[in-house]
Symmetry: C2
Subunit: 340 residues, 2 copies
């Protein structure tokens, strides 16, 4: 920096002012300094800057189940939005969600300090751990939760109480309601559900949306089979469903479990959609190429990431806590559903 100052014939402080876009620098000086910066290929030292500003220009992303389509794409969305805003993204992916693992990861973000933290795909366990740990920087949970689902309100309630900036979510319950309503419209009256792990907030919200919508139509919920997001668990659930013959339609909490169910039905000799309608959740790109193509619920991951970073940065830079933000998912109808 001293070198740049010398070359431009100014003091190092003026160089600093140019770098930080301070208002009171004359146009001529600014040009001279910028010229010198370019000539010397100067890059300011981030460590020195952080030392005095106490900002790292990095945000930490804490996530679980990052091998799954939803979380992985949320990460991508968050990452892109953050980098556009000049923040770098440091990630910590938990292979198993345990309080100590979460603690370690957050500790990591305090050591290699993050100006803010995004938590993807919270579990009950994750939320509990988060509540018990004092995180000294803004934190946003993203992608899930049932904010906006009114009385059911999972995510929103939790974080509102903490004075957290609130969370950004796709309205899972509404997505589930879309899916179920679509099946109701087709004349189905016994609609099963293959759920995600019940301690995942979004899994619970999807299940609740399914139950709620059926109740609203005056119907008893069909069989509820618990999966773990994996295709294998969907397969096993599908076999059970085929054996019991209690439902004419299934709503799976993600596309992978729907894929497993599809295969189970195929093995059991049930035709989809003639004998059994199937709806998934996520709309991963492959869903259109399942056999048959899957009707599913679409979530906007890019938008989710952008909103999430927007909210986080508002809190970091402005100090104004956002109030939460909810996106509405849409239904994509394909060949896996048909009238009863």
């Amino acid at each position: 920096m001293e070198d740049v100052a010398r070359l431009a014939g100014v003091s190092h402080q003026t160089v600093s002012r140019v770098l930080n876009a301070h208002p009171h620098v004359s146009a001529a000086t600014r040009a001279r300094v910028e010229r010198a910066i370019a000539d010397l290929g100067y890059r300011r030292n981030t460590a020195a800057r952080s030392l005095v500003t106490r900002r790292s220009q990095a945000i930490g992303v804490l996530g679980a189940g990052m091998g799954f389509y939803g979380p992985a794409n949320t990460l991508l969305g968050v990452q892109q939005a953050a980098r556009e805003q000049g923040y770098s993204v440091s990630m910590a992916s938990l292979s198993r969600v345990t309080p100590s693992g979460i603690r370690d990861a957050l500790e990591h973000f305090m050591l290699q300090p993050a100006d803010g933290i995004v938590v993807i795909a919270p579990h009950e366990t994750m939320l509990a751990a988060l509540r018990s740990i004092d995180v000294p920087v803004p934190l946003v949970t993203v992608g899930f939760g049932a904010a906006g689902s009114g009385a059911d309100g999972f995510g929103a309630a939790v974080f509102g109480a903490d004075g957290r900036p609130g969370d950004v979510a796709v309205d899972q319950a509404a997505g589930a309601a879309h899916a179920v309503r679509h099946l109701l419209d087709l004349g189905h009256t016994s609609i099963a559900h293959i759920s995600g792990p019940p301690d995942w907030i979004d899994a619970a919200a999807r299940t609740e949306g399914w139950r709620h919508t059926l109740a609203g139509a005056g119907l008893a919920p069909g069989p509820l089979l618990q999966g773990d997001w994996s295709a294998g668990s969907g397969y096993r659930a599908g076999l059970e469903l085929a054996a019991s013959a209690q439902a004419t339609a299934v709503f799976a909490a993600n596309d992978q479990m729907a894929l497993g169910a599809l295969r189970a039905f195929s093995e059991a000799g049930l035709r989809v959609p003639e004998d059994m309608s199937v709806v998934g959740f996520d709309d991963q790109p492959e869903a259109a190429y399942f056999v048959p193509p899957l009707t599913t619920v679409n979530q906007g991951f890019k938008e989710l990431g952008a909103r999430c970073i927007g909210m986080l940065l508002a809190d970091i830079e402005g100090g104004a806590a956002g109030t939460g933000s909810v996106l509405s998912p849409g239904l994509v109808v394909r060949a896996s559903t048909a009238p009863r």
Copy 2:
């Protein structure tokens, strides 16, 4: 740090020595300092440390196509290995691979400095850009390339010439050879290939493995259809293949394209595996639940990430450049392949 020193009755320097596990600190002093650190909940300031050591304890991961199974899981493996070694991982995912995008991302890693860089899933474009940019820190390419494939040698040759630490790769050509040999063993003699985009190093290596193995068996290569990794492109290729009826087996360069092909065959009334055998590449967890379950090539992403970080850290910390490392993929046989 001064506070800790005062509480422990030592100088700040002794605290620093404890923190850095210097040898010449008496056990009693060390215990007293550690106690003080714990009592005060002290965490050392990374920015100050980086300022003087010129190390950020962060490694940057530059990747493309991170929405696909392979790259996403490589990232996960790299991330886990890095965090275990006390490094944080900063990621930059390119949505489109352009020289300027690559330059921006690398520039980002120089600004928020990384001690080393991992490049996932290199393209031709990526390699070219990397060669033209002077990166002042160790760089490892990972997961792809055809290092070890002898005369064909893509990745290894490129990076050896640069004096780079070399790259870590799954031997793509060997994986492809496994797949094709399996089909040959089943008696197939006209074996088609659905390739990835030819400017992706690993796609080229898989295609080459396919061509090479067929040539070794004295057979002419079957039809070559070019895809783009997506299920959609596999579907279109599958339709063409079904129409032309020139092959009895297909080797797809990833599982998603295999999925698309499966759907195309199903629509065209071709039974798999009776009329057509299909082999994929990646062994993503869903592959076992395709209809029918997919025979595919398994890659060890965890291992890949660990080796890659191992090599990078050896270069960062020891200054000794690794020589490259090649993993062998395995074949997982499922129901999508059958004797001719």
